[in-house]
């Protein structure tokens, strides 16, 4: 725990975005999303860089979850959702009607607000995705499961009880299991929708340090209500308000010298 606090107090964001920045992983162009008659997103344009943590902040109902869920087309499930604009992932237009959504979601994994493991064994939870995508060979599956659980820093805690129900795990373990499950299909991008809002501080810390470890290999986009969390884990931060992207830039700049007064008001807790 001493270590934990030391890490949390660290002044600098986990990485310097100016250094080792690669080309954009996701390019969002003039994205608008409508639910029936209400417009949830108004012409959002932003580039999400490869292998960095990008945080989306803003008050409830500002459209940050909608933006996140556009990246793996989860808004499609909502029957009255309608999207205009363009999203390119590694140059590929994912909003085209003929996009292979299953393949898109294989490349863009998602972790949800509340840990939602399936009521199956720990092993079957992680193996679910690989099985869906056609891995039948048992040794190969076992390797993927182990590698994913190791990657999600859960292996040592569950290696002797892989056949136990995932429901026997604690909330924080369940959330790491959900991360392992998402990693098991080999995504490039990991979307996290308030992944720690249902967890206690210790479990939250474990998820945050896990994100720090994953940062080097995955492009992570996290929606969070927790400003300190955004400051701790991300190198870039986007502030959304009433469906518009108000400000987007280096986390340090956003939190120290924001250009927009609304950003500053939100960050300093004057509203939201």
């Amino acid at each position: 725990m001493v270590n934990a606090l030391a890490w949390m107090k660290e002044e600098d964001p986990p990485s310097n975005p100016a250094k080792n920045r690669r080309g954009p992983m996701v390019e969002i162009r003039d994205l608008s999303v409508y639910y029936g008659d209400t417009q949830a997103l108004h012409g959002v344009t932003m580039d999400i860089p490869d292998r960095q943590v990008t945080a989306l902040i803003g008050p409830s109902g500002c459209g940050k979850s909608t933006l996140l869920r556009s990246l793996n087309r989860m808004n499609d499930i909502t029957s009255n959702a309608n999207t205009t604009g363009e999203i390119l992932i590694q140059g590929q237009r994912i909003l085209d009607p003929d996009t292979d959504v299953a393949n898109l979601r294989k490349r863009v994994g998602m972790v949800f607000q509340k840990p939602n493991p399936f009521p199956k064994s720990i092993y079957d939870n992680v193996a679910f995705g690989p099985r869906v995508h056609g891995i039948r060979d048992k040794p190969a599956l076992a390797r993927v499961v182990e590698a994913s659980l190791r990657r999600a820093a859960l292996w040592n805690e569950v290696k002797d009880r892989l056949t136990d129900s995932a429901m026997t795990l604690s909330g924080g373990q369940q959330q790491r299991l959900c991360i392992a499950r998402a990693l098991a299909v080999g995504p490039d991008i990991l979307l996290m929708d308030e992944p720690t809002s249902a967890l206690d501080p210790a479990a939250t810390f474990r998820i945050e340090s896990l994100m720090d470890e994953l940062r080097g290999d995955y492009t992570i986009v996290i929606v969070t209500h927790n400003m300190q969390q955004a400051a701790r884990v991300s190198s870039l931060t986007g502030f959304l308000y009433e469906g518009r992207l108000i400000e987007f830039g280096d986390t340090k700049t956003i939190f120290t010298t924001p250009k927009e007064s609304r950003t500053e008001d939100y960050i300093t807790g004057r509203f939201g």
Partner: protein, 293 residues
């Protein structure tokens, strides 16, 4: 209201609730007691030697025979066929209504299924006589339409709404987050339904199947009207059969009080009750075992 009065009210309400729940336990115990009380004398009667005979002729000029095998086989055959039809059809229907149907379709289907559940069994018996029996006769080219298959079809129709509505509730109660998780991993809609939603709803679906089959085993009137009521020992669905329930219902009114035949009918009732009871226990054990996995 002071706390003392409150605790008095609490105690009173608690006593009332305990009383209400004890009544049902008491009734079950009493039913079982009187059933066994009237059934046991048969076992010391001279008629018992014919218990496992293949004929049921309790009223005869030559020899009264109380063979329960044809009745058991009749009940079993009808139940097995009816369940084979109603369980997959019911679960399939529930999946469709809960997951795939358009909201407008659901608005139409649900009330219709509820009406089907409310049709009195005698009326379904009429329907069996007038529609199902002639159909079975014609399609299979049988001399008579009153067969085990006809009975099973009518019973399947009766069990269907139970299986559908309870399974549907169970499927709809599965948290949407499971579905989201599955879809977000790139699983298709049907894959999600069959690999995530249905397995998660399995305890509820099992309860639905149990209640449905329970209704089939216990049903009397409709089967009595359409199965032909010939106590034949057969496993052929195209033959006439007679079920335990139909036998009791048909003969109880005519039987001399306290005679061998009378006790034999009570024994049938006890067998019926014990078999449904053990079926329920076995199924609950299976569900619990599946859940704890």
């Amino acid at each position: 209201m002071n706390t003392r009065a409150l605790s008095k009210t609490d105690a009173l309400v608690k006593a009332l609730l305990v009383g209400a729940s004890s009544v049902s336990v008491l009734v079950v115990a009493l039913v079982l007691f009187f059933l066994l009380k009237e059934a046991v004398p048969f076992l010391s009667d001279s008629g018992r030697s014919t218990l496992f005979s293949t004929r049921w002729t309790p009223v005869s000029f030559q020899q009264e025979v109380y063979g329960i095998l044809p009745l058991l086989s009749g009940s079993l055959l009808v139940t097995a066929i009816a369940s084979t039809i109603a369980v997959p059809a019911g679960i399939g229907g529930a999946i469709y209504i809960a997951e795939l149907a358009h909201p407008i379709e659901r608005e139409i289907l649900k009330p219709v299924i509820e009406v089907l559940a409310g049709i009195p069994s005698v009326v379904l018996g009429f329907f069996g006589l007038v529609v199902v029996a002639p159909l079975v006769k014609q399609v299979l080219g049988l001399p008579s339409g009153l067969t085990a298959l006809t009975g099973a079809l009518v019973l399947a129709l009766m069990a269907l709404p139970t299986v559908i509505s309870i399974s549907e509730d169970a499927i709809r109660a599965v948290p949407g987050t499971y579905k989201e998780a599955s879809l977000a991993l790139g699983a298709g809609e049907l894959e999600t339904i069959f690999k995530v939603v249905v397995p998660a709803a399995l305890p509820g679906i099992s309860a639905a199947v149990l209640l449905g089959i329970g209704r089939v085993i216990g049903e009397t009137m409709a089967v009595m009207m359409v199965t032909g009521n010939a106590a034949l020992l057969t496993l052929s669905p195209t033959e006439s059969i007679r079920t335990i329930t139909a036998t009791i219902a048909a003969e109880m009114g005519e039987v001399p009080f306290g005679g061998t035949h009378y006790h034999a009918l009570f024994l049938l009732g006890a067998i019926l009750m014990l078999s449904t009871f053990s079926f329920n226990m076995a199924a609950m054990y299976a569900i619990r075992k599946a859940e704890s996995k």
